[in-house]
């Protein structure tokens, strides 16, 4: 009788604490997005400024440094030259950079790319479809995707040049 009661109380308490624990966990310790570290990066197709189509899944076997940016975003502007320099180091080591502009006029993007002499492919997400799929909130946001198409890390905010270098190093196939 006494044992039964203890067992019953324990079970009920575990159930209750489990429910509370899950709610707190789901709310504070997980990304509130479908795109999380460890999950597969959603595939997308976008066209770059030279008219070339880039499909993410075509880059299996390579690491992808996926950067979301806008021309008005000062932190994005700051990290562009870093990415540009490191891209030229890592592009021969199997790391691809794709810079996704968040749907600005092509003219503005093109002028921006010319100003910084950007070498990596720049694609424009005209219809916000890729932004929705990746739940982009602050700019810049960078996704590190490994050779199997899995997201290794999500970085929001500016990176220094050494961070860019380390991140590219980390997704080298």
């Amino acid at each position: 009788m006494k044992k039964q009661r203890l067992l019953l109380r324990t079970v009920i308490l575990i159930l209750l604490l489990g429910a509370v624990g899950y709610t707190i966990y789901a709310n504070f310790f997980t990304e509130k997005t479908r795109v999380t570290v460890g999950s597969e990066a959603p595939d997308f197709v976008l066209t770059d400024l030279n008219g070339k189509k880039h499909r993410l899944s075509d880059y299996r076997g390579k690491g992808v440094f996926l950067n979301f940016w806008g021309t008005w975003c000062k932190p994005c502007e700051k990290e562009m030259p870093y990415m540009n320099r490191q891209y030229q180091v890592y592009k021969n080591q199997g790391v691809e950079v794709i810079a996704v502009n968040v749907g600005e006029p092509e003219l503005a993007v093109r002028k921006f790319a010319e100003r910084f002499d950007l070498k990596f492919p720049i694609v424009i997400d005209q219809q916000d479809q890729v932004m929705n799929a990746y739940d982009i909130d602050p700019l810049p946001t960078t996704f590190l995707i490994d050779k199997d198409g899995k997201i290794v890390k999500i970085i929001t905010g500016t990176m220094t040049e050494s961070m860019v270098q380390q991140y590219m190093e980390s997704i080298k196939p």
Partner: protein, 553 residues
């Protein structure tokens, strides 16, 4: 734990205050005149077992005192959260850390530092709510089981002490008990009491189910909390915002790329004088013509994407339906609902300029710039050509004094044009913003003269999908049923006992003693029974009479 056997023969669990069957006090404070009928004097489990850590946690949450304090703390916190606006309601382009201090001084700073700016989503607030839920479950379990037991095991034959120490009690001398017994029984039956009799004793009872009201109510609350919790489970709840311009087709966020929406037209209407029915005229005059909104409406087309969903790829769309979304008339489809919540009128969409010779005012052609996606060059013929060197949709001068843009939305467009003409084949550069022209390389012969602006309206929609709503509805309904059950019915009991030539009459109710007394008055009317005395009021009267007897009379 040892059981306690009462003299009536009933075996009670440890911790019982009043014998479950006959009501004789077992472990009760016998100095008080009246019995404490709370929980029928049953053994509340939490009070009796307190050995392991599990029992200790259990007992903590089982305490009503703890439950009440949890509610009080939550109420206080919730109230504090309304003093200053929550983080989500402050302007989006400010830093919260600075905003609260700038706006509200040191109290604002404190408010921010203590985390009240994001109160309702904070971990400790959610923990408080969750604790209330846990307390609710455990308090209820700990009380409903013993109460059920006590009411189920109650005997018809009650101990004399039990009856004498009820709030409503009388003892009467009766000549013919059998006649009285029959009379009382009939009257009780007429008043819809359930009657049990044993050796000339009566237990009459009605409205027992009202005692379960609070517990039914708690079950409803718990279901409600579960519903609220399920919102955090992916897929159960979608709440997104969609800004969409007239003429634009966009993916509906939160639908995983499955649905697209086209905004045909946004309409904003107001009540205007002389355009409405006669009855509205007075109201319109009072507030002014055109001051009251009449309608916010987005005419939209819903599309479903066919084929595989690859973000970024030009979607193949199949039309689902046309709809006019108005406030409180959402477009509903596949459990999604699109609500009209906001709008922006007259967002610049296209801007036109004439290429003009400044001296002669002669025009050499019209340039129309699509502000969402401008071309880089405009050929006007006859050797006249305009190039767009730079474009700033939302123009401002940055900290270095260079033109820059705040966003991609054309709120304040500015352009750098290069004008190529037969007389100036090298081209002249001109910076053109709204009501502003700068010629960085000296005086130009030509200028871009503003010729017109086309605008579009933008609809602000909310995308909702909520699979928890019906759970909240069920919880709320059960909550209300429990409340009604406990509020509008009373659990009344009447006991009749014949002992030593005296007839003992006692009654108990969980609420509405006044009603019970009236009912008893009707039951004993015409019998030899003495009207029971309300021993609580007697005691009050006694106390008052002692203090100031003059006033009492």
């Amino acid at each position: 734990m040892e059981k306690v056997k009462c003299e009536c023969g009933h075996v009670n669990p440890h911790g019982t205050v009043l014998c479950e069957s006959c009501g004789k006090p077992i472990a009760e404070d016998s100095t008080k005149k009246l019995l404490d009928m709370r929980y029928e004097g049953s053994a509340r489990r939490s009070q009796t077992y307190n050995k392991t850590i599990v029992d200790k946690i259990w007992n903590f949450f089982s305490s009503v005192k703890v439950g009440v304090w949890l509610i009080v703390i939550t109420l206080l916190a919730s109230a504090i959260g309304t003093i200053y606006p929550q983080e989500m309601y402050i302007p989006p382009n400010v830093t919260p850390a600075e905003y609260y201090e700038d706006q509200y001084g040191w109290t604002g700073k404190l408010y921010y530092e203590l985390g009240f700016h994001n109160l309702y989503g904070s971990w400790w607030y959610m923990l408080l709510i969750a604790s209330i839920g846990v307390s609710l479950v455990i308090c209820s379990l700990d009380r409903v089981v013993p109460l059920y037991r006590a009411l189920k095991n109650q005997g018809v034959v009650r101990h004399e002490t039990f009856l004498r120490r009820q709030r409503l009690f009388s003892a009467s001398k009766v000549d013919n008990y059998d006649k009285l017994f029959a009379e009382v029984k009939e009257k009780l039956a007429k008043r819809r009491y359930h009657i049990r009799e044993e050796n000339g004793n009566i237990l009459a009872e009605k409205g027992r189910f009202s005692r379960w009201g609070p517990y039914v109510n708690h079950i409803g609350l718990i279901i409600f909390l579960i519903g609220a919790m399920l919102r955090f489970v992916p897929g159960m709840y979608v709440d997104e915002v969609l800004w969409i311009r007239e003429g634009e087709t966009k993916e509906i966020p939160g639908t995983n790329g499955k649905y697209f929406l086209k905004n045909e037209k946004f309409t904003f209407e107001v009540y205007e004088k002389d355009k409405e029915k006669e009855v509205f005229q007075e109201a319109i005059d009072r507030v002014g013509s055109g001051m009251v909104a009449k309608n916010y409406q987005s005419d939209v087309v819903l599309y479903e994407r066919v084929g595989p969903i690859v973000p970024g790829e030009e979607p193949k769309l199949k039309k689902v339906k046309d709809y006019k979304i108005r406030v409180n008339e959402p477009l509903k489809y596949d459990h999604y609902a699109l609500y009209q919540v906001d709008f922006k009128m007259n967002e610049p969409n296209k801007m036109s300029f004439h290429l003009v010779d400044k001296k002669t005012n002669e025009q050499f052609g019209l340039v129309t710039v699509d502000l969402r996606n401008p071309q880089s060059a405009y050929d006007l013929g006859n050797g006249y050509r305009v190039e767009l060197l730079s474009y700033f949709p939302d123009f401002y001068f940055d900290e270095n004094g260079n033109p820059a843009t705040k966003s991609k939305i054309p709120n304040n467009p500015a352009f750098v044009f290069k004008m190529m003409t037969p007389d100036k084949p090298e081209g002249e550069v001109s910076f053109v913003a709204i009501r502003q022209t700068i010629e960085p390389f000296g005086d130009n012969q030509y200028k871009m003269a503003f010729a017109g602006l086309e605008t579009k309206n933008v609809s602000g929609l909310t995308v909702r999908r909520d699979f928890t709503l019906w759970i909240l509805g069920v919880g709320g309904t059960i909550f209300m049923i429990g409340l009604i059950q406990g509020m509008y019915w009373n659990h009344r009991r009447i006991w009749l006992k014949h002992v030593n030539g005296e007839v003992l009459f006692a009654a108990h109710t969980n609420k509405n003693w006044y009603g019970l007394k009236n009912e008893i008055r009707q039951i004993i009317d015409g019998t030899e029974l003495v009207m029971p005395v309300d021993q609580v009021e007697e005691a009050k009267k006694g106390a008052r009479g002692g203090d100031d007897s003059g006033a009492a009379k």
